[in-house]
């Protein structure tokens, strides 16, 4: 395998503004992909404090907001757009729940985690300003791949668990 190994000074490697953000899908794109051909009707819910407490008790995951962005699907099932807190940032994701209440698919909508705190830290980078003539390499536009960044999916799987519980206790309940 041919490969070329380069050591790039940290000051010459910058994250594209604002941070290393990758937008995968818009909510509309995710809806079209996860429920092709179906019509989705918004059925947004404001959870009561009692419902939030019940959800937390049932799934052991914190409920951060009472606002639930859920859509009813014409062919059966629900589409929910939500977010979890990653290492530093919110990670928006979408869950497709089928008519039987099982997870059909999960798509991450955006990823805003950064590559190394030191890259994102403006103050840390500022100390090198003017010290290089090299054009900085931009994460995202010049370098799209990172090897070795072990991005845990734990917070997302916890988020899915919380939404399944929310579905069972609120959306699927007769007076939900």
């Amino acid at each position: 395998m041919r490969s070329r190994f380069l050591l790039i000074p940290a000051y010459a490697l910058v994250a594209s503004a604002p941070v290393h953000a990758t937008v995968y899908l818009s909510v509309e794109q995710a809806q079209a992909l996860m429920f092709p051909g179906a019509t989705l009707t918004p059925d947004f819910v404001t959870l009561t404090p009692e419902q939030m407490k019940a959800i937390e008790k049932a799934c052991d995951v914190n409920v951060l907001t009472p606002n639930l962005k859920a859509w009813r699907v014409s062919t059966g099932g629900w589409f929910i757009a939500d977010q979890v807190v990653g290492k530093h940032e919110f990670i928006p994701f979408a869950v497709a729940i089928d008519a039987q209440g099982a997870v059909r698919s999960v798509e991450i909508l955006e990823y805003r985690e950064t590559f190394g705190d030191q890259v994102r830290n403006e103050a840390w980078r500022a100390q090198f300003v003017g010290k290089t003539h090299d054009a900085p390499l931009k994460l995202n536009s010049d370098i799209k791949n990172i090897s070795g960044a072990t991005l845990s999916s734990r917070h997302i799987t916890d988020g899915v668990k919380r939404l399944l519980t929310t579905y069972a206790l609120v959306l699927a309940a007769p007076h939900g």
């Binding site: 395998m1 380069l6 899908l25 991450i108 370098i143 799209k144 791949n145 070795g148 072990t150 845990s152």
Partner: protein, 292 residues
Amino acid sequence: MHSSSPLRTVERARPLLGTTVNIRVEYADELAAHRAIDAAFAAVASVHGAMSFHEADSDLARLHRTRCGVRVQLAEQTAEVLREALKLAALSNGVFDVSIATQLVAWGLLPQPAHVNRPAPDACWRDIHLDEEHGVRLERPLWIDLGGIAKGYAVDCAIEALRAHGIDSGCVNAGGDLRTLGGGPHRIVIDTGEAAASHHPVLELGEAAVATSHSRALPDHAAAPHVHGQARTAAGRRECATVVAERCIHADALTKLVLALGPASTDLLLHYDATAYWQDADGCWTTLGTSP
């Protein structure tokens, strides 16, 4: 995404294999690109389901529940990964050993499995007997974790799925174990886990697989996800290994051997026509294996 270019890029991500798997493809037909990505994610999910240590209905969980000596039929893919793992174990004389799950559970890095046989303290890869018809039999009770190799295999399966759907340029990245499609050149930055590193390594390559392993971000104690199979001690507490190979299953598994053996992994790398970029505890880089 440049509207002037005939090829556009689409990238999606799903939580799988305990990490975030993202798939990026270049396409002329958007719908076909999404279908290809759907198929690639399905391939990863199928590996996840069959080879997970945690999932109660995985092949491994079934094996761990079965009485010693009784043959268990594995899915073809699980058998393929286990065969590669046993080959690596034989070549490395047990430095790569999938029966280290016992250590990982003891260190709290894998969950305690339920309703399984208690592993024999000195059981190892030599107690795993795989036959030609994808059946496996354990001579002594042990727990298998394919975490050090299955992620790379899943990436290979995803790449095959993309190819089968007519995609010829893109990348599948499972939390740092990745494989590119098309000549690129692809640029990959290696996250070595160093705090405030003065330099970042960047790889430039064509169609290849790359995997990186280190455990620098973990708290400083004896436990680490990379285990020297013979010594049963944590490997690579201070080092970082990146391996470039044709297939990601090999790149993934070889990173563990480079972490455990350092420069002594050279022959193994040559066997797989792989190149390693190894950073020692002092931060110095050495190129090992096939000359890049």
